[in-house]
């Protein structure tokens, strides 16, 4: 490795797996976009922040919505402003350049230093959206016909793209990406992640809560499985509520924090009810749920 290469090794507030770290470094070294997929709450968006922080670069975020067009990422020609200016005699109307506003991608290209560009939730956009960006991401340049200018990236930005798999991305686009699927954290990894957010949580409490959490995730009939962020919120709730660790698994207090769907709550409560029936301990399952009647 002749040239000094930037290597990402994770940052203080983000736990990164070895695999993911490898993928990031491969993407950086090859100058290709890194496409991240994974369940919601596995930290896809956080990764870009962490990379920017660790490598001390600026982070540019391009949030994709269903109406976003590829063109908007490159530049917008503000014809309306130009019309106003011409009518009120302000500014230099003949200089079209000042009405060209660069989009997020354009901004990343002209930056004097290498930046991290996050294209968030690319699958939200139209099916053709990724294809419209092929050339720009490949060549890292685009042409502005209005000013006859070509914008070329001064430094190839590190491009991170996230997708929630709502749509399949086109093959041509995929071929140009480095792909990584973030698997759901294993209990050991999860413990590390939790420790980042709650450094001094009671070990016993964490242990019990994690067991309950993974038990819930493993139930086959759950439609929306609880994710990392929900676990963290739940732990917070447990700590504030002063719940004894021994009660967690039996009663699943504040279940509403973990499960957001009525059907899911019903499934879990039914199971819990059946289990506890023999012990005659069904009277107070959880204060937060009143739909449940014995």
């Amino acid at each position: 490795m002749g040239k000094e290469m930037k290597k990402y090794r994770g940052s203080a507030n983000y736990i990164v797996s070895e695999e993911l770290m490898n993928s990031v470094n491969i993407a950086i070294a090859l100058g290709k976009p890194l496409l991240l997929k994974g369940e919601p709450g596995t930290g896809k968006t956080m990764l870009a922040q962490s990379i920017a922080e660790a490598l001390n670069m600026r982070l540019i975020i391009w949030n994709i919505k269903s109406t976003t067009k590829a063109q908007e990422g490159l530049y917008v020609y503000d014809t309306v402003q130009r019309l106003y200016d011409s009518q009120f005699g302000e500014g230099d109307v003949s200089n079209i350049k000042q009405y060209i506003k660069l989009g997020k991608l354009g901004e990343a290209f002209v930056s004097d230093e290498q930046v991290v560009l996050l294209i968030d939730e690319i699958d939200k956009a139209d099916l053709e959206f990724p294809n419209d960006l092929l050339w720009e991401l490949d060549q890292m340049s685009f042409y502005i016909p209005e000013t006859k200018e070509t914008i070329v990236a001064k430094h190839r930005p590190i491009v991170i793209i996230t997708s929630n798999a709502e749509k399949e991305l086109p093959d041509a686009f995929l071929r140009r990406c480095i792909f990584h699927y973030i698997a759901f954290p294993t209990p050991e990894e999860m413990e590390k992640i939790v420790r980042v957010h709650h450094p001094d949580i009671d070990r016993k409490l964490l242990e019990q809560a994690m067991e309950a959490f993974y038990m819930l995730r493993s139930l086959p009939n759950i439609q929306k499985k609880p994710s990392t962020s929900e676990l963290i919120d739940w732990l917070q709730a447990l700590v504030i509520g002063g719940i004894k660790p021994s009660r967690i698994k039996q009663e699943l207090p504040f279940l509403g924090v973990l499960l957001k769907k009525n059907e899911d709550l019903d499934v879990v409560l039914n199971q819990l009810y059946n289990k506890n029936q023999n012990k005659n301990a069904t009277t107070y399952i959880s204060g937060s749920i009143n739909r449940f009647r014995v």
Partner: protein
């Protein structure tokens, strides 16, 4: 040297393109695999595999191809300790590169064993002993083309083992899954036509502003055709007795199709085993409630995408004979196969989804009729993968074979 691996991947159904293969070669040249099999595994996977649905296939292919390669295990604890100390990366000169001849794995292993016997202390740098840095083939953070990495970034687990664990099995899309997956697949069945036909009835605001501004303020209206999905779907479902086993699966598909509100039109009909003169409105296939197949063939335009769901398994006479219909009170003067052919001829965008897994098509009771019907309609199994393939076929005209 890995060219075989490319073909192994293809054989296992991982769609690798030359493009990606070149990228991999480039990456290897840059030393991104970190000269360890684990590093190589992750490198290959991130460059070559583009969906988690193929992770499992990739793992299988990798395990198959590299099963004979093993990284030495059971190293003395002490050596791990020496290796735990990381060194800054080192500069590699041309000369160093030349000095190394490529060692093959057997030779390396033999040498490592020898070295393990001889070595009694910590080494960093240098070109012989096990340690960090340096150019000895053993250890980490050093440089040796094709050396054995011990410790450092790579883990105690060999890549073949990681691959062998098949952690991503659950993401295989050829498994049958739920409504949501079907819905996602069905979502691909769409065709936005702002360009093809229809009146320009929508005001294109951006276009209008742009044009007006370019005209220095003189208003110019720009109209657009509304973007609409033009796909119309005709769903024909077998409600016969042999389908009861698959009712759950069919229900899931049915729910998904119904929930997909992006179709311009959706018509559902039922039939019993094979299609004859009648298409029924309810799964009970009662003779008081039906539309004539003839009517459907005459009035529905050929742009309808036809999805037929059925096990295609019946007695041969039900398909080929006049009067072969299974229901006692009915009589058909055209054999079922004739109706199927007519449907196929009229609706070029049509597929047959079969809930029987493809592997059994040749062995199940209805093998004969399955084969016959598969000659008429492109047939796919009713899984998420199968549905996706079917939808691909529905998007483009399929060649109509010898009807």
């Amino acid at each position: 040297m890995f060219t075989d691996f490319y073909y192994v991947l293809k054989a296992y159904g991982v769609p690798v393109s030359m493009n990606e293969w070149y990228t991999l070669m480039e990456a290897l040249e840059k030393g991104l695999a970190g000269s360890s099999l684990t590093g190589f595994y992750y490198l290959c996977r991130s460059v070559l595999v583009k969906t988690e649905a193929h992770y499992d296939r990739f793992d299988l292919a990798f395990a198959h191809y590299f099963k004979d390669v093993e990284t030495p295990e059971g190293l003395p604890e002490k050596i791990w300790e020496w290796l735990d100390k990381e060194l800054p990366e080192m500069e590699i000169t041309e000369e160093m590169r030349r000095n190394h001849r490529q060692l093959d794995l057997d030779e390396l292993k033999r040498m490592l064993e020898e070295r393990l016997r001889e070595q009694t202390e910590e080494h960093h740098g240098g070109n012989y002993w096990i340690g960090t840095g340096g150019t000895s083939p053993f250890g980490h953070s050093g440089y040796h083309p094709g050396g054995i990495r011990i410790g450092g970034q790579s883990r105690n687990l060999s890549a073949v083992k990681v691959a062998g664990m098949r952690r991503f099995q659950e993401f295989r899309t050829d498994e049958t899954l739920g409504v949501r997956q079907f819905q996602v697949a069905l979502r691909k069945l769409r065709q936005f036509t702002s360009r093809l036909d229809g009146q320009k009835t929508e005001l294109d605001l951006d276009g209008t502003i742009n044009k007006t501004c370019q005209n220095a303020g003189r208003l110019e209206l720009v109209w657009e055709r509304p973007r609409e999905n033009s796909i119309k779907v005709l769903l024909l479902m077998d409600a016969g007795g042999s389908m009861t086993v698959y009712s759950r699966l069919c229900n899931q598909l049915f729910t998904a199709v119904n929930k997909s509100n992006h179709f311009k039109d959706l018509k559902v009909f039922y039939f019993h085993n094979c299609i004859y003169d009648w298409l029924f409105h309810t799964p009970h296939c009662s003779l008081s409630d039906y539309t004539e197949t003839e009517y459907v063939l005459k009035t529905y335009d050929p742009e309808y995408r036809v999805i037929i769901v059925g096990d295609a398994s019946m007695a041969p006479y039900e398909l080929t004979r006049v009067g072969g219909v299974i229901d006692w009170e009915l009589y058909n003067d055209k054999p079922g196969i004739e109706w199927l052919r007519r449907i196929r001829r009229k609706f070029e965008y049509s597929v047959w989804l079969n809930p029987i897994p493809r592997d059994y098509w040749e062995w199940t009771d209805g093998a004969f009729t399955i084969k016959k019907i598969a000659e008429i309609f492109p047939m796919e199994e009713l899984t998420v993968d199968g549905l996706e393939r079917a939808i691909k076929k529905l998007r483009s005209r399929q060649a109509v074979a010898n009807l």
